[in-house]
């Protein structure tokens, strides 16, 4: 009996008791492995987030610009009371919603073709064609649109060559809508495609056997089943637009200030970290609500 229990001794066998210990106590191994990354996250990232939350309830002395560490809700009151901040939050939300809707409309037929009609090779090609722009530099793609939309850019040149008047949409909210929709489109296509691919063809055939026309089958069978994928994509398009401040600076105009721009200015120029912290809680709160709704709609399984 003892022979079975005793492990064979080998060269460098010092590791044997250890590995045996880890095998019997997988929790111990997990703990050892988990400690360094967890420490990084808790000490740096989580502490930062908690500090941000606390800072939001502090204020700064208007004369010395020193942080006064007294618990109060002045920052939040200011955000709610001043119409300027309400406008900015409203604009950011509206544009995020508009971009999400635009991307869903653009992406769905594309993803549908990819998942249900395209051949295997075509599928691979289209998948790569979506992933390349997704990864190609964010700044580069925003910048490309500055070149396209500016007064003597490709857009006006094209309009002119077909005899239309120039469109001066550069540095407006319309430009932001176009650019955001462009930049986040791949983030909508990928999950929508993944969801559509999982809808079995047999369901559509069954719907057809029961007398549904193709469009009806798509509307009543495919669309509800693909919805979690679109919602998963919308998490990205919505959250990324909500938190952006680079695109408003580069392609927006005078009336294009986003939540992120105010946050950034309060960190840099105004040096009012407590107010910036309070304002940054707005997108966090909105995203928290959004994620709960998305979870209910089954978006997390679709990711």
């Amino acid at each position: 009996m003892l022979d079975v229990v005793r492990r064979p001794r080998r060269k460098g066998g010092g590791a044997v008791p250890f590995s045996a210990l880890f095998w019997r106590l997988p929790g111990l191994r997990s703990l050892l492995l988990l400690t360094p990354p967890l420490a990084w996250f808790v000490v740096i990232y989580f502490a930062s987030l908690v500090l941000l939350l606390i800072t939001a309830f502090w204020t700064i002395d208007p004369f010395t610009a020193q942080i006064i560490q007294v618990w109060n809700t002045d920052n939040f009151a200011r955000i709610i009371q001043e119409p300027a901040y309400r406008d900015i939050i409203g604009r950011t939300l509206l544009l995020a919603a508009l971009v999400t809707l635009t991307d869903a409309l653009l992406a769905f037929p594309f993803a549908y073709y990819m998942a249900r009609i395209a051949s295997r090779r075509m599928q691979t090609f289209l998948f790569a064609a979506v992933l390349l722009p997704l990864w190609a530099s964010y700044l580069a793609r925003v910048y490309a649109w500055i070149l396209i939309l500016n007064h003597s850019g490709v857009l006006n040149w094209s309009l002119q060559s077909i005899g239309l008047p120039p469109a001066n949409i550069g540095y407006t909210n319309v430009a932001m809508w176009v650019v955001f929709s462009y930049i986040w489109l791949p983030f909508m296509i990928v999950p929508a495609y993944a969801a559509l691919e999982r809808v079995p063809e047999s369901l559509l055939e069954a719907a057809g056997d029961l007398g549904a026309r193709r469009w009806r089958a798509v509307r009543d069978v495919v669309l509800p089943l693909a919805l979690p994928g679109v919602v998963a994509g919308s998490i990205f398009t919505f959250s990324l637009t909500l938190g952006d401040y680079i695109t408003p600076v580069l392609v927006g105009g005078a009336g294009s200030t986003f939540i992120g721009n105010v946050v950034f200015n309060n960190i840099g120029i105004a040096n009012n970290i407590p107010f910036a912290a309070a304002l940054s809680m707005v997108p966090v709160a909105i995203m928290a609500v959004y994620l709960v709704v998305a979870y209910r709609l089954g978006a997390f399984e679709a990711m």
Binding site: P8, L49, L132, D244
Partner: protein, 268 residues
């Protein structure tokens, strides 16, 4: 099957979306060869002169060096920490698993500005001067998530029975890791590192909040575009950044059969 006209319309739609997706990228590359220093369309001719001007520019060279330094160090640290996290979470069974795994994806789930501003508040509160080190800390935080996601996805698809078989045959812990686990997950680890580097090399939001006086390449680009200065050089630099971010992603996609690169990187 869809009717004939539905298919024709869908095909047309796909073609239009592809044109929409790729026109801006192709244009950027064309503008990099623009003979004029005025950015208007059509470009009058093609030249290579901005390439040499860009290479000779000391600001651009030092920003590039910093971006490479930050990207390589952040990726290296994230490689170790992200893999550790993935291994631990994969084996964990207790109730805290959900909480911890949620925590590891938080930097990608929250808007980049939140990660940026909270790190900024953290450093300024702790009296840490913003420097190259703080940029690296910021980048490492979201790079860990990328590596973690890739390695964990592979571990979930790997059969535990292989490890058990090796142990039954007398392999010790180290041998199992070297001969079984590592070959199975190596491509996922490399893919994770590639994607982490690509993300770091192009990152601008977290960087603006964690950088002091130093410029990474994206910060240089952002500054130049905002001021409308040195746009001919911007065209060249931006084309270069596209290539540098695309190449590792293509490698990563090859290594993971497309899955890795599709695990959407939302750290922007």
């Amino acid at each position: 099957m869809e009717g004939f006209w539905t298919r024709v319309l869908l095909r047309l739609w796909v073609a239009l979306i592809l044109v929409f997706l790729f026109t801006p990228i192709v244009l950027i590359f064309l503008y990099a060869f623009n003979t004029s220093n005025i950015q208007s369309w059509p470009i009058p001719g093609l030249t290579l002169k901005w390439f040499s001007a860009t290479i000779d520019d000391a600001d651009i060279r030092s920003s590039l060096a910093l971006s490479l330094q930050v990207g390589l160090i952040a990726t290296a640290v994230a490689l170790v920490l992200g893999s550790c996290a993935a291994f631990a979470i994969h084996r964990m069974t207790w109730f805290g698993k959900e909480v911890v795994s949620l925590m590891f994806v938080l930097p990608l789930a929250l808007p980049g500005i939140i990660t940026g501003i909270s790190l900024n508040a953290f450093f300024s509160f702790g009296g840490v001067q913003l420097s190259t080190l703080t940029i690296i800390v910021g980048h490492t935080t979201f790079c860990i998530v990328v590596v973690y996601n890739n390695v964990l996805a592979r571990l979930r698809r790997t059969q535990g029975s292989l490890v058990e078989a090796a142990m039954d045959l007398g392999a010790n812990g180290f041998q199992v890791f070297r001969d079984i686990t590592l070959p199975l997950i190596a491509t996922a680890v490399v893919a994770g590192a590639m994607l982490a580097f690509a993300l770091s090399f192009d990152e601008v939001i977290v960087t603006t909040f964690t950088a002091g006086a130093q410029n990474t390449l994206p910060l240089w680009i952002f500054g130049a575009i905002r001021l409308g200065q040195r746009l001919p050089e911007v065209n060249v630099v931006v084309s270069f950044v596209i290539l540098v971010t695309i190449i590792p992603v293509v490698i990563a996609a090859r290594l993971t059969g497309g899955g890795g690169a599709a695990r959407v990187p939302a750290a922007r």
